[in-house]
């Protein structure tokens, strides 16, 4: 959904809703849209899992202004991100970077799915026993039962 969202940002100039103030908005729509999609992925450090795009905390506003300053100065998206990470650490990224410490976080959901699939296939009871004709005794019992 996030990708979907990001694509809509790029193509439609429609943006998810936010705490952005009118005076923050850049006059260049290209830069503004980059600023918006960047801020959607950055955590408002004093909030709970809210991006700076959504938060109306003063810190979020400062960060939004900072991003726009860096973008106006000609920084690439990656450069802005790494600048913020150097200041605040990985904590500022809502999408944790893939490294040794987060490897388990990223791969374990899929490992579990794989392990579960393997387990089910391995443990699956062998094919249901083939159909066989009733034995003499069984046929007799069936006849007795149906007669009643």
């Amino acid at each position: 959904m996030h990708r979907l969202c990001a694509i809509s940002l790029l193509l439609l100039w429609l943006t998810p809703a936010l705490a952005v103030e009118p005076d923050e908005i850049l006059s260049d729509p290209g830069l503004e849209s980059r600023a918006r999609s960047l801020s959607a992925g950055l955590r408002c450090l004093v909030c709970q899992n809210q991006s700076i795009d959504e938060s109306d905390a003063p810190l979020a506003r400062d960060l939004r202004l900072l991003i726009r300053e860096r973008l106006k100065a000609g920084d690439s998206d990656e450069k802005v991100k790494s600048y913020l990470v150097s200041r605040y650490g990985d904590f500022v990224l809502l999408k944790p970077p893939l490294n040794l410490k987060t490897l388990l976080l990223w791969v374990s959901p899929f490992l579990l799915l794989l392990a579960g699939t393997v387990f089910i296939i391995w443990r699956r009871p062998s094919k249901p026993p083939p159909l066989r004709a009733l034995t003499k005794e069984e046929e007799q019992r069936l006849r007795d039962l149906t007669r009643q």
């Binding site: 959904m1 979907l4 969202c5 694509i7 998810p16 809703a17 650490g89 809502l94 944790p96 089910i120």
Partner: protein
Amino acid sequence: MIAELAHFLLILSFATALFQFAVPLIGAQSGDADLMRAAVPAAFAQFLQIALAFGLLVWLYLVSDFSVVNVAANSHSQKPLLYKITGVWGNHEGSMLLWVLVLSLFGALVARFGTNLPLTLKARVLSIQALIGACFLLFILLVSNPFLRIPNPPVEGNGLNPVLQDPALAIHPPFLYSGYVGLSVAFSFACAALIEGRVDAAWARWVRPWTLAAWMFLTSGIALGSWWAYYELGWGGFWFWDPVENASLMPWLAATALLHSAIVVEKRDALKVWTVLLSILAFSLSLIGTFLVRSGVLTSVHAFAIDPARGIFILIILCALIGGSLVLYAWRAPALKPGGVFSAMSREGALVVNNLLLACCTATVFIGTLYPLVLEAVTGQKISVGAPFYHLTFVPMIVPLLLLLPVGPMLSWKRADVRGAIERLWAAALIAAIAIVLLTALNRRGPWLAPFGIALGLWLMAGSIAELIERTGFAKLSLAASVSRMRRSPRSSLGMSAAHLGLGLMIVGIVAVTSWRQEVILSMQPDDRAAIAGYTVRFAGEVPRTGPNYTAESGRFTVDANGLEVATLVSERRLFQPGGQTTTEAGIKPFLSGDLYIVMGDALPAGGRVVRIYFNPLVSLIWLGAAVMFAGGALSLSDRRFRIGVPLRRPAAAASPAE
């Protein structure tokens, strides 16, 4: 005096819980019927004692007795009546008391309606239920007592956080807790079955209605919470992947899996070992959710407690209950006899895939929620796991599940004709395909994935309708014949169709609002206009207004479509007394195509206001979908099969509903 009486009642209920834990269990182990029968009156007594204590706490809030710490800290004499009552559970101590109240209520309901349960099973279930209750009652009495006094009572109380003074949020905790705690019944049944060493179709039939009821409460609790976030937090978001939200999503996913796997146990006597484990895990996730929210290990708007002593206490309860039940499982589960075999291509096979994917979705949310806590504890490094993580992990797992969902109900038990099942879904597939083509054509500039998302929702809706048509023979038989077939078909299968339909509605809503939301942020002077989604919004100006415990600046907006005035919206900035906290009330007008959502922001130095206007297309479908899912659950719960018990005792048990 009243606080002391309530305190005493709580101590009494703790003693009752200990009695209810020990005596019936000893009876069941030694085969003493009298000891086992003691469980029922004990369960009633425990509920009555806690209900009285809770009622007295409500009374203390109503009369604003500020000599009680909890009341003074969380209430105010000028607060509206509704919020005086709901303030009772708007804080840590009160909400824990509500938690044990609901727990003892479920115990009493099992005692009352479980008349068709075998005596030993019932005794053991109520015993386990009482053990959980005793743990949490001890917690309340030792570190979370709502009835403590202040030596020098203040004249006025602190008041309730104004953000929480809201009807939806007022009833959100009772619903959510009923869901969390309702899963305790499945847990108790699982532990009791492990002790007995016996899981069969009858067991699954007893567990399902309780799980279904818990699932319905969780569904509505989560939906209410997200609805509240949507209209109250002021920008129209409805899900944040916040750890506190995840804490409620995990038990919901596990309960959903359990509902499906219990069907296999009931119909085919298979998946027993897994279903018992799932029952234990579902409630364990509820306990973990309670721990996360209540221990203060997370800090968010939802978490009101910050006392670490409580966190450690809950953690001990958590380890004891979860660890104990898992040890019991490891010890006894191998004794459960494996049941019916089935081919991979069958209804059972489909439900196994359902359970695999749902379990992995649950695990993903679990890992995403707890990983940062563990990493910080181990290495001291802080990371954030936000929405982008879940979009890359949770979504790829839930999408295949949704894609396969309509196929499952079309398959027959044991061994199915997959080709036939898929052929019967041609109309649903056609609808989805047309939706992709049409939406892609109409939205050439739009996000290319959005049409696929909408088509997925339509596929679910059309698939569940196709299943209904198939079952009733609507396409083949006369109208009268198919109507009569529909009336005769079990309500649980109608409920299933409704729940799947509701899920489809919800998917359409989520995809539409995430993909096509529109936004205008601007400064407006009175009489200024703004255009959005074919509507013209005019700022008509603002007037001051006085509410029961707040003053507000109330901004009016008129909305025109094609030159006709179609709506007037009011958005307010409220200043609460006491405390001076402010809240923003969004003005929302639901149209058929979506919600117009207006928030009046700060006043500008030069006059006028910052105004945020959003158009959220089809957003109501999210909550409409949840309502349909809830209704599907209710329909299913009313199924006759759940009200009749063991076939042997049918005549005696037919009158007593299992719910």
